[in-house]
Structure formats: structure tokens, C-alpha cells
Symmetry: C2
Subunit: 114 residues, 2 copies
Amino acid sequence: MKVKCKIWFEENGGVAFADGRRMLLEAVERLGSLNAAAKELGMSYRAAWGKIKATEKALGIKLLEVTTGGKGGGGATLTSEAKELISKYKKYTGRITVLMEKEFKRIFENEKSQ
Amino acid sequence: MKVKCKIWFEENGGVAFADGRRMLLEAVERLGSLNAAAKELGMSYRAAWGKIKATEKALGIKLLEVTTGGKGGGGATLTSEAKELISKYKKYTGRITVLMEKEFKRIFENEKSQ
DNA sequence: ATTCATTATGTCTTAAAAGACACAATGTTG
DNA sequence: CAACATTGTGTCTTTTAAGACATAATGAAT
């Protein structure tokens, strides 16, 4: 038996941010474009854009700095708020993952501690 | 912003046990009947039974000791494996909830620790 | 043997989430 | 000022999960 966990952030009831959106934002940061990021993750641009918008609305912060026109047609980069969110999110989920594994061993696999 | 978490157990890929099923089993223990437990939780007997069966199959353990016939028509009680599962599950999720809250405060609300 | 409230199970319907399709808007570059 | 690859957005379709409906089976009590 294995323990699994899904961690997400909420603001007034709606899902705001979780692992899929973290990956999406990281791809945008790396590729400089939401369109390219969506392609890399195998999702439609429409879906990717919708998730970003949903998070922006839920948390009330701006995640992407976008431009249109120009040689590449435009692009998107992360705002400092987005970078901070990713950074804290990764720190948090990483820490929780470690703790969950540790507690799982303690409670489910170490008989003497029951 | 609030952090949320769903914890569940898996065995070879399938969802095995989570909070809804814990509540269902606790209601069975209290009421002595799966039918009554389903009613109390506002779900159909069919749905409740299906969840119990799915968990039993996934974890390979028997959760309910059932009888049919007699004055009350029959009933169900928890096996010792079910009781142990509930006990460890509650201990585990309780501990994780505390740790998550603590880490959340540390990373998202305590600026000096970044 | 009849009754009765339960367990047991197949199948159908509905609700919700995710994704696809189509098309408009942008604005820099050449 | 035309071209182009991007962003922006409404709507439709598909997929999937959850629940409802119907109906059989059980077996102690009477």
C-alpha cells in the first residue's frame, strides 16, 4: 500500500494552483511563450490559457507578462509574483512529501510505534 | 490563500481508501448496517456498497462481516482489518494535517524563513 | 413456507470536468 | 501596410466519474 497526496491552494472555495499549473508556468519561463509551453505539455493552447486565467482570477494576481506582435508573434514571461508562487509551492510540496513519507513509515510500517 | 490536501491510499494504481470511505465505515460500525450507514451519509446503498467493494478489491482485505436474514433483515460489522485501517488512517491524516499547517505558516506567512 | 429488511449486482442516466474547434485581436517587423 | 505567430475568448464535444433505478438473493424469525 502506498500513500498519495494532492496538494493545492484555494482562495474562496475554488482551486487556485496545483502541480499541473506549476509545470505549465515553468514551461512558459523556459520557452518564453504560453503557446509553446502548452505544446510541450501536450495540451491545447485554449486549455493552458484557461488554467492560467483561472489561477489569476482565484488568487487575484497576475502571472504572465504578455506581448503580441513582432518577429516571433509575441510571447509570455512570468511576473515576479508567479516566480515567487512557484518557488514557495515547490519548497512547500517538497517538504510535505518528505514528511508524509516519514510519517507513513512510522505509522504503517513500524509496529512498535502504534 | 489556503492550502488543501487530499490524502488517499493506493494499491497497484487504483484509489483504495480516502476520507469518504472512512466516514462510511465509521457509520457502519456505529449503526450495524451498511444500508443505514448509506442513508445517514445521504448516498444510495448501491454507491456505498460499490465503494466498500472497490476498497476490498484494491487492498485485498475484507472490510465487512455481513449477515442476512433475521429480524432486522441482516447487517454488517467491521472486521478487525477494517478497524485497524481506520485507526491508522486517522492517526496518519491527523498528523499530516498538523504538519501541513505548520509548514504552510513557515513558508507562506513567515517572511524571515524564506 | 411466508415474511421482511437486509445484502448483492448489472445497467442506465446524469453531472461535471477536460479538452477540441473555430475565430477574433494584437502589434512588431519587414 | 501586409504578414505572421502569438494572445484572447466563446462555444461545442468528448470523456469520465458519480449516482439512480431496478431486481435478484439471502436466511433467521415467525
